[in-house]
Subunit: 149 residues, 2 copies
């Protein structure tokens, strides 16, 4: 399990390779999500950063930074929960599976699992049979965690 510093370094290198820049502000937002044990909304992130880093960035900035991090695949937006979660594979060397998020409707806990290639292909075929093009196979499912079930 890589330390947060290592993950940030790795993220920085990945961004540089893509011609993007992981600025200090962006690092701090990503760090906030990595430190946090749970998915956070933009405003929860602002509160969290106020407590952890003694800085309170404007919401507009946080949203922009989250958009950037999402575009760089460092962060995932969970639409079911209106929250963001750090990608759990940032420092992996191998290509990892498309994420599927199991979101507890009761307590908000989120678990990330990988979607098998075969399942993605099935989804993709279903989509194309319907005249649409699959843009992003990331999945979110309404669940209950083992504590709330």
């Amino acid at each position: 399990m890589a330390s947060i510093t290592q993950i940030i370094d790795h993220a920085e290198n990945t961004c540089r390779k893509n011609g993007a820049k992981l600025t200090e502000k962006r690092k701090r937002v990503l760090t906030g999500l990595l430190i946090s044990k749970k998915a956070l909304s933009a405003y929860e992130l602002i509160d969290f950063m106020q407590k952890e880093f003694n800085e309170s960035p404007p919401a507009m900035s946080v949203y922009r930074i989250l958009d950037f991090l999402e575009t760089e695949n460092l962060v995932h937006k969970l639409h079911l929960a209106n929250k963001y979660i750090a990608c759990s594979h940032i420092s992996c060397a191998h290509e990892h599976e498309v994420p599927q998020f199991l979101i507890c409707d009761k307590c908000g806990n989120v678990k990330e699992i990988g979607i098998k290639k075969s399942l993605i292909n099935t989804l993709k075929q279903n989509v194309e049979k319907s005249g649409y093009v699959l843009k992003s196979p990331q999945l979110e499912l309404h669940c209950l965690c083992h504590e709330c079930a």
Copy 2:
């Protein structure tokens, strides 16, 4: 293809069987969604109903009505788009498939397809292997429709 009146009648009977009541206000919200060619947000619904029925219910009421309709499975909330869409199987006599929504990220068009039982079972097993319980297998996918692709 059932007429809107028939669909509403069917919905009313289904609610009655479930011990719920499809009041006039609720009928009008459902009708609005049935008339509409596309998924609508709560506020879009309010605008739509102002134009179609010359009534402008408060947002709070619309949200409550949408919650009710969703609970009765007459309406689906699309979390990716923050919109609602009428269930397309209200007057079907047979048990229909769990819905999967293909949502065009560009224009907002939504297509509903059915998820095969085998795919649901796969999803369910993946979830349970992770210690969670699948609560609702409804899926939403980021897509592009054939016009926007």
